[in-house]
Symmetry: C2
Subunit: 189 residues, 2 copies
């Protein structure tokens, strides 16, 4: 229920012309990853996510080992460290990215949580809970026996139903993935 106006950022900074020559590591990144990052970030943005947060998340997702430092992100996305900092804070708050410290270094690594989607759905669950609470209160104050009250209750019932289903779905996903992995990679175990 919360996608935005559809299009918004089509041709953004997806400029391939590698100005002078950036760090070696980036050569490969510029080639293909950037295209994916910007496109997937656009999808997420359209669905209501903050743009910079979406870009950073996509960038981490498509990175070699799922984690990058602030400086690396700033370089790849061509934005200031400040922008990275702000977006990462947001992503941490919603449990999509975790921060870790490289032992003997001042570098901090941001990593996509292994089960991002699990985390994301837990948050979603929290949101649904808040909505349900508001709706129950509203139903009571408006009057449970009025048409409006009934309509609100119906909505609330649905949300609570969905909340239950959500956790069961995650259960099934874990099972699904487990059996899939057992089948596809029977070696090693």
């Amino acid at each position: 229920m919360e996608q935005q106006e559809a299009e918004r950022q089509d041709e953004r900074n997806v400029e391939p012309p590698a100005e002078e020559q950036r760090s070696d590591e980036l050569r490969q990144y510029d080639e293909v990853a950037s295209a994916f990052v910007e496109r997937f970030a656009a999808d997420m943005t359209e669905a209501g996510m903050q743009r910079m947060a979406a870009r950073i998340f996509a960038c981490l997702l498509s990175s070699e080992d799922g984690s990058l430092s602030s400086a690396q992100l700033a370089e790849r996305l061509r934005v200031s460290p400040a922008a990275v900092s702000g977006a990462v804070r947001y992503l941490s708050q919603v449990h999509m990215v975790s921060r870790e410290r490289e032992p003997g270094s001042r570098r901090e690594l941001y990593r996509v949580h292994e089960n991002v989607w699990h985390e994301a759905l837990v948050d979603r669950d929290r949101i649904l809970g808040r909505w349900a609470k508001t709706l129950r209160t509203g139903e009571a104050s408006i009057g449970p026996d009025t048409p409006a009250g009934r309509r609100i209750r119906e909505t609330c019932d649905f949300l609570e139903f969905m909340q239950q289903e959500l956790s069961q779905m995650l259960e099934r996903w874990r099972a699904h993935r487990a059996s899939r992995d057992a089948h596809e990679a029977p070696r090693d175990g």
Copy 2:
């Protein structure tokens, strides 16, 4: 995965002091419904929905028979008809509100779709589909056998799993509701 900064609009125009005296119909509205509308709208806004759209949706949801005219909405929410018009257009696009014409009148009624949530989830399904498509393309271009490729595929697999589950969930909801209604209101059948 797309809730916003948490707080944003706490004390907005929830002013109870009824200026001079507005239309009779509004007396009751101002009392309690407005509080609910603004609060639920805030919840939805925090989850990423456009503010005005959220307010209008909440207002319709808590209205006597689930439908109001542009003028009524403008009056209740204290905004210009123009703002209503824009938000309603958005709500129509995402299938949360439908417009209907009162037969012998120039009035147009906006109505919350009977199964708003069904509609909303269908849209959600569409979004997931788009994401999955982007991810598949990305997986291919980045390389299915790279760590990043595998991570992207995992994400995609999950989304597609969720897409399937979504429709099954709606099925179960219909069953759930049907049995509930049959139990709670066995008369009339």
